[in-house]
């Protein structure tokens, strides 16, 4: 089962290396990992999606907690989290296909980020499965390039970790 782990770390060089090194050494699998600074410039938040059993996730949490630069670790409750991923996707587009693409964009809530005589570049921020659905819908138009950020997530409600 996929689970989302939110990790607050010191915003310092080398921290990401320690975390990825830990995952590879302990044979934990990472599905995706996204990192960015928080409102407190001394802290970064790393969102990690893992696909392991529950006991493994517990070990992941404990091992992460042992890293000196890790401040807090929390596995988010899947039922009450807001998880989003950003995708930028470039597809072939010409006069005849542009309108079809626009229709799918409006259904899925994607925006046009760039346009050229032969292509369109689209952006969508949504849950990972909806982002994947949009990607599938674009496949018939000939995808030229895709970039996805990996999921970032926060727990719903007023609490914080």
């Amino acid at each position: 089962m996929k689970q989302t782990i939110s990790v607050l770390v010191e915003n310092q060089a080398g921290v990401l290396n320690r975390i990825t090194s830990l995952f590879s050494r302990r044979a934990f699998n990472i599905d995706s990992l996204a990192v960015g600074v928080t409102d407190d410039p001394t802290l970064s938040r790393i969102t990690i999606i893992v696909d392991n059993g529950n006991s493994v996730v517990e070990q992941v949490e404990k091992q992460l907690n042992k890293l000196v630069e890790v401040i807090k670790v929390r596995t988010l409750d899947e039922n009450s989290l807001i998880g989003r991923e950003l995708m930028i996707i470039k597809v072939s587009a010409n006069k005849s296909s542009r309108e079809h693409i626009m229709t799918i964009c409006s259904i899925c809530g994607a925006k046009v980020a760039d346009i050229s005589p032969t292509s369109m570049t689209l952006e969508l921020s949504d849950t990972p499965d909806r982002v994947s659905t949009f990607e599938d819908m674009m496949r018939p138009f000939n995808i030229l390039e895709v970039a996805r950020t990996g999921v970032i997530a926060l727990q719903k409600g007023g609490g914080k970790i």
């Binding site: 290396n17 830990l22 006991s55 517990e58 070990q59 404990k62 907690n65 000196v68 630069e69 401040i71």
Partner: protein, 544 residues
């Protein structure tokens, strides 16, 4: 006042109470070595290869209870040190390793003797630092010693580029205390869990305590023995927990594990409550954690929360400082378990093992026999440093323990550990009787450190089992699925008596069990170091 980074580094070490450094100089650590020259109050041992600086610091740390310090140069100096650091990591030994590094402006350019040592040791250090500003050194050193010695101890590495050692800092600020927001080790055990443990002990009929290396690291052997004695609970030990109680203690059942004492393994298998104290349930100690989990209730006491549930799910986990937790447990009074019948049964197992007859062969001595006879003759608080291989198994299984220590590389199983570790022991406690047990394989991995013994005029007694093969591998190769010994013959080994003599160290040979008592007496009576070369048949196995 203006200070160089090198002087700040040494000043910081002095403030941590460092009295000795094991090291090997090289170009990029020269400023620090130069600053050390001004401080004769810090002793210095020049090793012959950097790995042994780590092992010496380990031996030093394990008997003194203080952080062992080693300091080497960049590149090959740092990579050679890696095995020493990894050995310390696996056994949770408090250590600070300092490495020189190429100038920070040239980092990443693959210049002479550059290696990414912090990257290399990340998987087996508790933490590490690459210092790029000398003004940070006091804080970094303070943190390094704090991290190395608190919670679950372990090695911390500080990499200091040469330009940082040369950098001038105006009035450096030496902090008095340290607080790291991401590092808050648990100390006290949860009171509710403590109560549950006490109740479980009281209700058990076949309890066993399993003492691991964490008992020594927390300096909790007195508390452990008190707990065992108060409730008359039999005690088994892992290799790292050996000598927590004397061999002839009525509650002692010996060492568990694949190479352990049969009576200890029987006790473990038949118990109804296993109380693990500072042990991490690794494969060599507990072969089948699933089986243990299924058969009996388990209590797991450890300072590292990640150890709980890593290899085995305990019924009652208890996280905190082992000494504090045992004190909390001792503060509760519960009725002693009704386990008299259990103890009687175990006594039978134990007697059978202690009375076991060892095989005899003409022209050689049996290592188990040597261990029994040697152990009886040692000082009450002797330190015995044991290498890796058959010698380790014989020593751990059969060497009678009193109130001393048995130091070995239990986790990483590093051959060549014993001799340098013994040097570290002697540096920390020159008056304490120190013995090395090794084989002809492991001795040749470390014999260059006889120089340290010679230079300091140390008294270390070295028992060298010579069977002309890598005995334990030889033994493994004789069993399925392998097809017989290969590549384990120690042909080409030197005359060890001549090697000893070359370092000015006398030696004796033991090849006749009828004369073994007399030989051991002579060996231990030698003033200063001596090597006892014990002739052992290559066919001897650890289960003989």
């Amino acid at each position: 006042m203006e200070m160089t980074g090198a002087r700040i580094l040494i000043e910081s070490l002095l403030r941590e109470g460092v009295e000795h450094i094991f090291g090997y100089a090289g170009a990029t650590i020269c400023p620090a070595v130069d600053a050390l020259k001004e401080h004769p109050e810090i002793g210095y041992t020049l090793v012959r290869t950097e790995q042994n600086a780590g092992h010496m610091a380990s031996g030093y740390a394990r008997v003194s209870g203080r952080v062992g310090v080693c300091m080497v140069t960049s590149g090959p100096g740092a990579t050679n040190l890696i095995t020493g650091v990894a050995t310390a990591y696996m056994d949770s030994i408090p250590m600070v390793a300092i490495t020189g590094q190429v100038p920070s402006s040239l980092l990443g350019r693959d210049i002479f003797q550059e290696v990414d040592i912090t990257g290399a040791v990340t998987p087996f250090t508790k933490h590490n630092y690459l210092v790029k500003d000398a003004a940070r050194l006091p804080q970094v050193v303070k943190e390094a010693f704090y991290l190395a010695s608190t919670g679950r101890p372990g090695p911390v590495l500080i990499d200091v580029p040469i330009d940082v050692q040369e950098q001038l800092v105006e009035d450096p600020d030496f902090p008095e205390s340290v607080s790291i927001r991401g590092y808050k080790p648990s100390v006290r055990g949860n009171d509710l869990q403590i109560k549950r443990v006490a109740e479980a002990i009281s209700q058990s009929r076949q309890p066993v305590i399993c003492a691991g290396g964490g008992v020594w690291l927390a300096d909790a052997q007195a508390e452990l023995v008190e707990l065992a004695e108060r409730y008359a609970i039999p005690v088994v030990k892992t290799m790292m927990g050996l000598s927590v109680l004397p061999t002839d203690h009525p509650l002692n059942l010996g060492m568990i594990g694949a190479h352990g004492n049969r009576c200890a393994n029987k006790a473990l298998a038949k118990s109804d409550l296993l109380i693990m104290v500072g042990s991490r349930v690794a494969d060599r100690a507990i072969i089948s954690p699933e089986e243990i989990q299924r058969r009996m209730a388990t209590i797991h006491i450890d300072v590292d929360p990640a150890e709980i549930g890593k290899n085995m799910q305990a019924a009652i986990p208890l996280v905190g400082d082992v000494k504090v937790i045992l004190q909390q447990l001792l503060a509760l009074e519960v009725p002693a378990p009704d386990a008299a019948e259990w103890r009687e049964r175990l006594k039978g197992y134990r007697r059978a093992e202690l009375d076991r007859e060892f095989p005899r062969r003409e022209g050689s001595v049996f290592p188990g026999t040597v261990m029994r006879k040697l152990g009886r003759r040692l000082d009450d608080n002797a330190v015995v440093c044991v290498d890796v291989g058959q010698n380790q198994i014989f020593a751990c299984k059969y060497l009678p323990q009193k109130h001393g220590r048995l130091l070995t590389s239990g986790g990483l199983g590093t051959m060549g550990y014993a001799l340098p570790a013994a040097v570290g022991v002697k540096v920390a406690q020159p008056e304490r009787q120190t013995v090395v047990i090794c084989g002809d394989g492991s001795f040749q991995m470390a014999m260059n450190e006889l120089s340290a013994i010679r230079r300091a005029g140390m008294d270390i007694k070295i028992v060298l089992f010579r069977n002309h093969v890598l005995g334990l591998v030889h033994q493994i190769q004789k069993t399925a699925p392998y097809h017989g010994p290969f590549g384990v013959d120690l042909d080409g080994s030197p005359d060890f008596a001549a090697i000893a003599a070359a370092y000015g160290i006398p030696s004796l040979t033991a090849d006749d069990e009828d004369k073994l008592d007399e030989t051991l007496d002579r060996f231990l009576a030698v003033k200063g170091s001596c090597i006892l070369i014990c002739e052992v048949s290559p066919d001897v196995g650890t289960t003989d």
